[in-house]
Symmetry: C2
C-alpha cells in the first residue's frame, strides 16, 4: 500500500513529543493519469509577474465580455424591432461611463489592499461579517455563472463558425467545461506565457477587425451583413414598444461588460514590485481596452445591421462582414474570441475555489474546502464549481441569453459592498490621529490627508453600482434574477448556520473552559454474544483485557438454545458473568438496548461503559447478506448515548 | 423507547449465569397499524383440523387450476385454428389420467411422512443434498410463479366480468398481490372457517354451473357462446398445422392442473388424528373433484365453442352461456372463481416462506429467513415472494399465457424428485431386517412387506412425471421455459455457495478445535488526534484506561499548527507520548495508515493494538458534511487487518 519509509526521527531531550516525516509516496492511481502525480507542499510556486503578463493573466474575464455584452444588449432591443437596435450605441456609451467610474473607484482599493482586496475581504474588514458573507455569496454565484456564460458564449462562437455543431452545443459546452475542470485539477501554473499568447492573439485579431471595420466604414466600402440570421422572438415576448423599462433592461445586459473588472484587485500579490502601482496601471490599461472595444464593436454592429441570434453570434457577423467572407482572418478572429472565452471560464475555476477556501477558513463553509488536493489546488472547490456550472449549462441549454439575467446582479452587489466598504474605510482613516496605525486583517489603516475626496470617489462608485444592482434586479426579475434574489439570502443563511456549528463546536472543545472532565473511576464492559464460538471467545479475551468488570449478554429466542449456551459458557466462559435475556417477541436488538439503558440509568458518575461486540468480517462482500448485522444496528442505535463506547472485535474468517 | 421492566431474575447458586425475561413491550410503530401488534412466541397457535376443513385449507391451489388449465390448453390449440379446439377433450382425459397416477403415488408419501413430506424433505432424506436443493430451487420458483399466475388469472376473471378494468389489469394485480402479502404479514391463522366459506362457495357455484351446463346440453338447450371474444394471434405464431408437437405443447399447458396436488403431503401435521389417514382421504377427494371439474368444464367449453382470450376468460364465457346472461348466478360463479384464485395466491405466501425457512435452517439460504417476525410469520420470506411475484406480474403484463411456460416445469421436477426419493426409500426398506429401524430426519424406516409393489407405484409415477418434465421443457423452451432451465441450476449453485460459507464459518468458529487462542500479553493503544481539544482529551482519558502504553499521533500538514499542537500537548497531554507525522502531500489518512502498518509489522506475538479515535457526533445530520470523517475512513481502511481493534470515543456536541 505505501512504499516509503520513515526518514527523519527527532526527539527533544526530556520531551514526550516525537516528530517524523514519513516519506510516503502516494501510489499511482487512475486519477494520476488524468491529473498528474501528487505534488509535495514544498512544490508550491512563487512567481511575480509584470504588467504585460499581468494584463494577460487577469484580463481574460473582463475582455472576453466584448464577445457577449454587445450581443445581449441588442437581444433586448431587438424585441422592439430592428429599428430599436440604434439605441445600442448610446447604451454602450453609458456602460463605458460606468466602467470608468468603477475603475477609478477600484484604483483606490488596489492601493489600499496591497495584499489583495476582493470584495469579500474589503467588506469583512469594513462592514462586518454579514456584509462579507453577502459579498461572498454574491461572488460565488457570480463565478459559477461566469463559468457557465463564458463556456456557453465560447461554444456559440464555435457554432457560428461551424453551424453543423449547433444541435450538440450543450454536449460540447459540458465536455469543454469538464476539460477545463480537469486542467485546473492538474493545477494551472499562472505562468504568463500560457495566458499571454492567446490573450494577445485575441487582442490583435479583435483590434484588427475593429480597425479594418472603421477604415472600410470611413471609405464607404462596409456593406450590411450578408444573409443575417433570422431575428428571433426572444424569450417569448411579442413585439414591444421602446420604453424606458426596455432601455434599462438592455442597459442591464450591457453592464455584463463590467464583470471581471475587479479581478486585478484580487490578485495584487502576483505582481512584481512596486506591486500596487503595477496592478493599478494594469487595471487602467484593461479598462481602456475594454471600453474602446465595447464602443467600437457596438458602433460597427449598428452600421452593418447585425442581428443578435443564437445561431450566429454578432462577432461572427461582424468578422465575416469586415473581412468580406469566412476567410482565414475571419477564422483567426473567431478562434481568438473562443479561446479568450475559455480563459474567462478558467478564471472562474481559479477564483471560486480560492474564495470558498477563504470563506471556509473563516468558518462559513465546510473546512474541507481549505484542504489542497494532491496537485496543491483546492480540488473540492474546483469539482463543486464544475458540477454546478455543468448543471447550469444543461438546464439553460447553453444559452447566454437565458443565463445573463441570473448573472450580473451578483457582480454589482459585490461591487457595491466593496465600494461602500472602501468609503467606510476612508471615514475611519479620516478619524484617526496622524501617526496612529490600526492593523486590520486585510490591510493597515493610517491617517491620510484628502480622505474626504477619496471617500467621495468610492461613495459615488457605490451609489452608481447600487443603482445598477437595483435596476438589474427589477428589470430582470421575471427573466431569472428572482432566482438569485432568493438564492443569495439563502446562501448567507446557510453560511451562518455553518458558522454557528463551528463556533459551537469550538466552544465545546475549547480546553480553556473551567473544568476539564475528571478521570474515569469505573469501567464496565458489556459483551453481547450470539453464541459460544471462537469469535465470542476472542472478544471475551479482549473484554477482559479492558476491565475486570465484564458481563456477557445473550439474547434467547429459543429455550433449548439458551440451555446449550449456558452449558457451553460454564466450560468456556472463564468465570465471567453471563446474563441470558429471554426475548418473547423474538427481537434481538431491542431487549439488548433495554438492558443497556437499564445499566446506564443505574450508572455511577465517572463510570464508563464499553460494549465489546464480536463482529464477523466475511471474506466476500455478499457474505454480509448472510448475517444479521446486529453489531452495525447496535452501533447506530447507541451512537447518541453519552458515556457509551462501542468496540467491534473483528473476527476474520478466511 | 422501551416501556417494560425486568420481571424475573433467577440465579442458580454458585453459577455465573443469570437468566431474565425482559417484559419488553414493542412500541407502536406505523407498521403496527398495517400488520397488527407484535405477538409473543407463546402465542403460536396449535390447532388440528378435520377432512372437510382440510380440503378447504389445502385445496385452493389445486382446485383453482380449473380456472386456467383448460383455457391454457385451448390457447395452444387455437393457434391451429378453431377446429383444432376439439383436441382439448382427449388432452383433458390424458391430464386426468396423469392426475390419478400422481395421486396414487403421493398416497404412499402421505403414509410414509406423517411429519410432512414435501419434495424437499423426501429428496433430502433419500437422494441427498444435491437432489434436495434441486427440489428446493424448483419449488421456490414454482411458488413464486403460482403467486404470479393465480393473481393474474384472478384479475382476468374480474376483467372478464367488468371489462373497463382491462387496461388497468397490471395495477390491479400488483395491488391485490401486496394486499395478500400484507394479510400474510399480519399472519393468517389457518383456522378453517376463513378458508372453508369461500372454498365451498366456489365448489358449489362451479359444480352448479357444470351440472346445469350438462342438463342443458342433454336437453338440447345449450347454444354457443354469444359474442365470443375475437380469437387472438397467440404469442405471435402464424396459423399452424396440428402436429404432435403442438398437441404436446397443449398437453403441457393442461398439466398445470396438477399444480397444488402435493400441498396436502406438506401439511399432514395440521390434520386431526388419525392424521395420515385423514390427509390421504382428503387428497383423494381433492383429486376426484379436480379431475371431474377439469374434464366437465373442458367438455362444456368445447360444446359451446368458447374461445380462449385475454379479454374474457373461458370460465366467464361458460358461465354466461350456461346461465343465459350476465345475471346473478354468473356473477356468483365469477366471484367464487376469483376468490379461489386469490386463496391459491395465498397458498404461495404460506409455502414459500416455510420452505425457504427450512432451507435456511439447513444452511442453504440466509439464516435471517428462519427468524419469525413480529407476527410470528417468516416476514422476510413473505416480503421476498411479494416483491419477486410483483415483478413477474409487471414484466409479463399479468398474462397467464405468458407466465405458464415458466411455471409447471418446476412442479413436475419436484414431483419427479419426490417420487424417485420414495422409490429409493422403498428399496432401502426392502433391504432392512425385520424389526430393524432407521431414523431419518423426516421419517422412520421399518421393514414392510409388499415394498416391491410400492416401489413400482412410486417408480411409475416418477417415470410419468419425468416424461412430462421433459416434454414441458422441450415444447415450452422457446416460450420461456429456457429461463427456468437456466435459473434452477443457478439457484442450486447459489444455495451451495451459501452453504459453503456457513460450513466454513462454523468450522472456524468451532471451539472444538485443538487450540483456543492464548491470552493477549501486550496491549498498545494508538490515539490519532486532530488537535488538542476536549474531544481529544476525553479520548485520551479513555485510552489511558485501556492501557498504560498509549501513543498519540498527529498528522501535520502545516508546520505552524504542528508547533501549536506540540505546545498544547506539553500542557494537556498528561505525559503521554505524541508522535507528529509530517505529511508533505497533505494527506491525512495515508500517513496514519503507514504508521499503523509499521507498528503492526514490528508487533510481537500475542500483542493487540487498539486504535482509539475521537469522533464528533454532531447534533444534526448535515453537520457531518462539515467534518472530514477521518474516523470513518480509518475504520474502512483497517477493517481487514487482523489484530487491530478500532474504538470510537464519541464526543457529543450539544
Amino acid at each position: 500500500m505505501a512504499e516509503g519509509s520513515v526518514t527523519i526521527e527527532e526527539q527533544e531531550a526530556g520531551s514526550t513529543v516525537l516528530r517524523r516525516t514519513i516519506d510516503y509516496q502516494p501510489p499511482r492511481r487512475p486519477s494520476t493519469w488524468l491529473i498528474g502525480r501528487p505534488l509535495s507542499t514544498a512544490d508550491a510556486p512563487h512567481q511575480a509577474i509584470g504588467k504585460a503578463i499581468g494584463l494577460a493573466v487577469f484580463a481574460a474575464d473582463a475582455l472576453s465580455s466584448v464577445a457577449y455584452a454587445p450581443q445581449e444588449t441588442m437581444v433586448i432591443l431587438a424585441t422592439a424591432g430592428t429599428q430599436a437596435l440604434g439605441y445600442a450605441v448610446p447604451i454602450a456609451i453609458a456602460v463605458t461611463v460606468l466602467l470608468a467610474i468603477v475603475t477609478i473607484s477600484y484604483q483606490q482599493t488596489v492601493y489600499a489592499y496591497a495584499g489583495g482586496g476582493g470584495a469579500y475581504i474589503v467588506a469583512r474588514d469594513n462592514l462586518g461579517e454579514l456584509a462579507a458573507q453577502i459579498a461572498g455569496a454574491a461572488l460565488l454565484v457570480d463565478y459559477t455563472l461566469l463559468a457557465a456564460v463564458a463556456i456557453s458564449s465560447g461554444v456559440a462562437q464555435i457554432v457560428s463558425a461551424y453551424p453543423p455543431l449547433f444541435p450538440y452545443r450543450v454536449e460540447v459546452a459540458v465536455g469543454l467545461l469538464f476539460l477545463i475542470m480537469l486542467i485546473n485539477l492538474r493545477g494551472v501554473r499562472e505562468s504568463g506565457v500560457t495566458f499571454a499568447i492567446p490573450n494577445y492573439f485575441f487582442l490583435f485579431m479583435i483590434y484588427l477587425t475593429v480597425a479594418i471595420g472603421f477604415i472600410r466604414l470611413i471609405s464607404g466600402t462596409l456593406g450590411p451583413v450578408i444573409d443575417p440570421p433570422p431575428i428571433e422572438a426572444v424569450l417569448g415576448y411579442a413585439m414591444q414598444p421602446v420604453t424606458i423599462f426596455l432601455l434599462l433592461r438592455a442597459f442591464s445586459n450591457g453592464t455584463t461588460a463590467l464583470t471581471g473588472v475587479e479581478c486585478i484587485s484580487n490578485g495584487i500579490t502576483a505582481f512584481k514590485e512596486p506591486r500596487t502601482r503595477n496592478a493599478a496601471i494594469t487595471m487602467i490599461w484593461m479598462s481602456v481596452i475594454l471600453g474602446t472595444l465595447f464602443l467600437g464593436i457596438t458602433i460597427l454592429l449598428h452600421q452593418i445591421g447585425a442581428v443578435p441570434s443564437a445561431q450566429e453570434t454578432v462577432i461572427s457577423q461582424l468578422a465575416r462582414t469586415v473581412y468580406g467572407s469566412r476567410n482565414i482572418l475571419y477564422l483567426a478572429t473567431m478562434i481568438g474570441t473562443t479561446i479568450i472565452l475559455f480563459l474567462a471560464t478558467n478564471t472562474a475555476f481559479a477564483d471560486f475555489p480560492r474564495l470558498s477556501a477563504l470563506q471556509a477558513n473563516d468558518g462559513f463553509l465546510p473546512r474541507q474546502l481549505t484542504y489542497r488536493g494532491s496537485r496543491l489546488v483546492y480540488s473540492r472547490g474546483i469539482v463543486t464549481l464544475g458540477i454546478i456550472a455543468a448543471l447550469l449549462v444543461i438546464i439553460f441549454r447553453a444559452s447566454v441569453t437565458a443565463l445573463v439575467p441570473l448573472w450580473a446582479i451578483g457582480v454589482f452587489l459585490s461591487f457595491t459592498l466593496s465600494q461602500v466598504g472602501m468609503a467606510h474605510r476612508w471615514w475611519k482613516i479620516g478619524h484617526l490621529q496622524p501617526g496612529q496605525e490600526i492593523k486590520e486583517r486585510g490591510s493597515t489603516l493610517q491617517f491620510q490627508p484628502g480622505w474626504v475626496t477619496k471617500m467621495m470617489i468610492n461613495g459615488f462608485g457605490a451609489v452608481c453600482t447600487a443603482l445598477v444592482t437595483i435596476v438589474f434586479a427589477v428589470t430582470k426579475f421575471r427573466d431569472g434574477a428572482w432566482i438569485v434574489v432568493i438564492l443569495i439570502p439563502a446562501l448567507v443563511a446557510g453560511f451562518f448556520a455553518i458558522h454557528r456549528h463551528y463556533q459551537n463546536l469550538g466552544k465545546h472543545l475549547s480546553l480553556k473552559r473551567d473544568s476539564i472532565r475528571s478521570h474515569i473511576t469505573r469501567h464496565r464492559v458489556i459483551l453481547p454474544i450470539s453464541g459460544v464460538h471462537e469469535g465470542a471467545i476472542a472478544a471475551l479475551h479482549y473484554a477482559r483485557l479492558l476491565s475486570s468488570d465484564v458481563t456477557a449478554v445473550y439474547i434467547s429466542i429459543d429455550s433449548a438454545e439458551a440451555e446449550s449456551i449456558r452449558q457451553k459458557w460454564a466450560v468456556w466462559g472463564e468465570g465471567v458473568r453471563l446474563v441470558i435475556l429471554d426475548s418473547p417477541y423474538r427481537l434481538l436488538l431491542e431487549p439488548l438496548l433495554q438492558y443497556i439503558e437499564e445499566i446506564i440509568s443505574n450508572r455511577q458518575p465517572k463510570e464508563v461503559i464499553t460494549i465489546v461486540v464480536p463482529q464477523f468480517v466475511p471474506r466476500r462482500w455478499w457474505h454480509n447478506l448472510l448475517h444479521a448485522q446486529t453489531a452495525t444496528w447496535l452501533r447506530l442505535a447507541l451512537l447518541f448515548k453519552p458515556g457509551i463506547i462501542i468496540t467491534d472485535v473483528p473476527y476474520i474468517v478466511n
